[in-house]
């Protein structure tokens, strides 16, 4: 399958990644080869086979709805690149 520049750019956007032109050529080539490799699955007849969605045989593992503490605010903010002691900070997103 051919990955067009447009399709590549869309995948990169969905992945929230950006590439230089050189990187793009390399990754695009790798992606095409990887897709060709996994397309081998077309040879397997899976008519009527239910997809396997969960590895565990258990269903609905419940617990009591008890109120419990989670991480403290201090811990939660510990690894943030930018925080003001109460909130995580990001670039301004509301445009005039």
């Amino acid at each position: 399958m051919e990955i067009t520049d447009k399709a590549f750019d869309q995948l990169a956007h969905l992945s929230r990644l950006q590439f230089t032109d050189t990187e793009k050529e390399e990754i695009k080539g790798d992606l095409q080869r990887m897709i060709a490799f996994v397309e081998k699955l077309e040879e397997v007849d899976t008519t009527g086979v239910t997809p396997l969605l969960h590895m565990s045989s258990a269903s609905n593992v419940w617990r009591e709805d008890a109120v419990k503490g989670s991480v403290t605010r201090e811990d939660a903010l510990l690894n943030a690149a930018d925080a003001d002691g109460q909130f995580f900070k990001v670039p301004k997103v509301i445009k005039k």
Binding site: L11, A12, H13, L14, S15, R16, L17, Q18, F19, E23, I27, D30, L31, R33, M34, I35, F37, V38, E39, K40, L41, E42, E43, V44, T46, V49, T50, P51, L52, L53, H54, M55, S56, A58, V61, R63, V71, D75, A76, L78, N79, A80, A81, D82, F88, V90, P91, K92, V93
Partner: protein, 466 residues
């Protein structure tokens, strides 16, 4: 321990070994002062109360994807540079509760993606048996740490062979437990329906003891199975049983299989047969499809799991100012992730994207179902499945790093266990004429680690290795 040494002496011994082997690059950080402190505490406790804890004074290294509160944790990625863990992984908590000493965190492929430890932000890990060769991956540092005697036991993680393959390359034992055996809470997620914490050691008993401690229900991971915890004591009973074993015909006929590995495997099967066990070839016509299935499902899960690294709550934030939130995310992620991680996120995004979802992702889930059915059919007739662990012995640096697909095929015998959730172990039974060790893989049915470990002990004896 026989009472003639102390925990402090043991820790000092390993710290010296780590220092003397820095060139192997197995550890990204050593918790020297803290390990000595824990050892001193245990020595004092023991003098007052005697031996306490099932792992009293056992010196353990952990792969840099497992959370240890108050310590750095990076998945060997620049995107998590400077990140400090704010809680203990359940597995780590259970080890500490039983008196284990965590001596450091170990180098690995970035986000556990790779088969050679060539994808780490901290550089390559060297195989101690031949430093021009890779240790395998992704848990390369954890394997080399045990291989070179830098700790007693290491924890790795295994999504498609990341414990068993480096164990094979380094000549040690590496266990991937059943899916759901050990809590994944505090394990950095790569592919959540595949990931399991695994154990490296130099004998079956050490692995069994650590497995027992880490196993079992956990309120923070609802996928943990409530089956009884595999007891290490079960290995002490004499085992005279006659086993019925299977191997996949196609595995041995695979064109990528090194002829010496094939010959060693066949000779070993003969010895097993001579000892009275039954070893039979079974058809496994899906062999060529396991690696493609694995890559579709794991990259899909990875693209979702790794979406959390956006530079807001934690992780790398770009110095370049972007005033649009989407550009901001892209800059943070593109600077933080390495090439292999980006490749896999892109493939995962592709197989999950509208228009391709059914053709790739759903199709792979269907093949996973077929594999699961086949596995159940085999274990209704056999106690275990044997195979080579890896088709070739440890390769040289750079040999495969430019070819993602050739690298993928190194996982052909190991991904199966993760696809169907069964336990697998690599046993260091053989040596190649090029001087490198290699192993044999044993797999049993889901949640049957007891049979796996008992049989492993028998197989180690067949070769006189244990």
């Amino acid at each position: 321990m026989n009472g003639t040494t102390t925990c402090v002496e043991a820790v000092h011994y390993y710290l010296e070994q780590i220092e003397a082997n820095r060139h192997l690059n197995a550890f990204v950080e050593v918790f020297s002062a803290e390990a000595v402190e824990s050892a001193r505490y245990l020595d004092n406790l023991r003098s007052r109360e005697g031996m306490t804890g099932k792992l009293h004074g056992v010196v353990i290294g952990i792969k840099d994807v497992i959370s240890f509160k108050g310590h750095k944790l990076s998945a060997s990625s620049r995107i998590l540079e400077g990140f400090t863990a704010i809680y203990n992984a359940s597995a780590v908590q259970y080890l500490l509760d039983e008196g284990a000493i965590i001596i450091g965190r170990q180098n690995c492929d970035e986000f556990a993606m790779g088969s050679s430890n060539e994808n780490s932000a901290y550089g390559n890990v060297l195989n101690a048996a031949d430093t021009s060769r890779v240790p395998g991956g992704s848990s390369g540092g954890s394997a080399v740490a045990v291989q070179a005697g830098l700790c007693m036991v290491s924890l790795g993680s295994d999504t498609g062979g990341s414990v068993r393959q480096p164990a094979d390359f380094c000549g040690i034992l590496g266990l991937k437990p059943s899916y759901g055996r050990i809590s994944r809470y505090g394990l950095i997620a790569y592919a959540s329906s595949f990931d399991q914490i695994g154990i490296f050691g130099i004998n079956v008993d050490d692995i069994a003891r650590v497995l027992e401690v880490m196993s079992g229900a956990d309120e923070f991971d609802s996928t943990v199975n409530d089956a009884p915890v595999p007891s290490a004591a079960a290995l002490n009973k004499p085992d005279e049983g006659i086993y019925k074993l299977a191997y996949f015909k196609e595995s041995l006929e695979h064109p990528g299989l090194d002829p010496e590995i094939k010959a060693s495997f066949e000779a070993f099967v003969k010895r097993l047969t001579a000892e009275g066990h039954t070893v039979e070839a079974v058809d496994f016509e899906l062999l060529d499809y396991v690696v493609p299935t694995y890559y579709i499902l794991t990259t899909a899960e990875a693209s979702s799991n790794l979406s959390r690294y956006d530079g807001v709550k934690f992780g790398h934030r770009s110095g370049t100012a972007g005033d649009d939130l989407s550009v901001f995310y892209k800059q943070n992620r593109s600077e933080g992730f390495g090439k292999e991680v980006k490749r896999r996120i892109m493939l995962g995004t592709f197989v999950l994207s509208a228009g391709y979802y059914d053709a790739y992702y759903t199709k792979a889930q269907q093949v996973r179902q077929l594999l699961s059915q086949k596995t159940q059919a085999i274990f209704s007739q056999y106690n275990a499945i044997l195979s080579p662990t890896v088709p070739s012995p440890a390769f040289r640096f750079g040999e495969k790093s430019n070819d993602p697909i050739e690298m993928f095929l190194a996982d052909i015998y190991t991904v199966f266990a993760n696809l169907v959730g069964i336990p697998g172990i690599s046993l260091p039974l053989f040596k190649h004429s090029n001087g490198m060790p290699f192993g044999m893989q044993v797999m049993t049915s889901q949640m049957d680690e007891v049979t796996l470990l008992r049989l492993s002990k028998r197989l180690m004896h067949v070769n006189g290795a244990e």
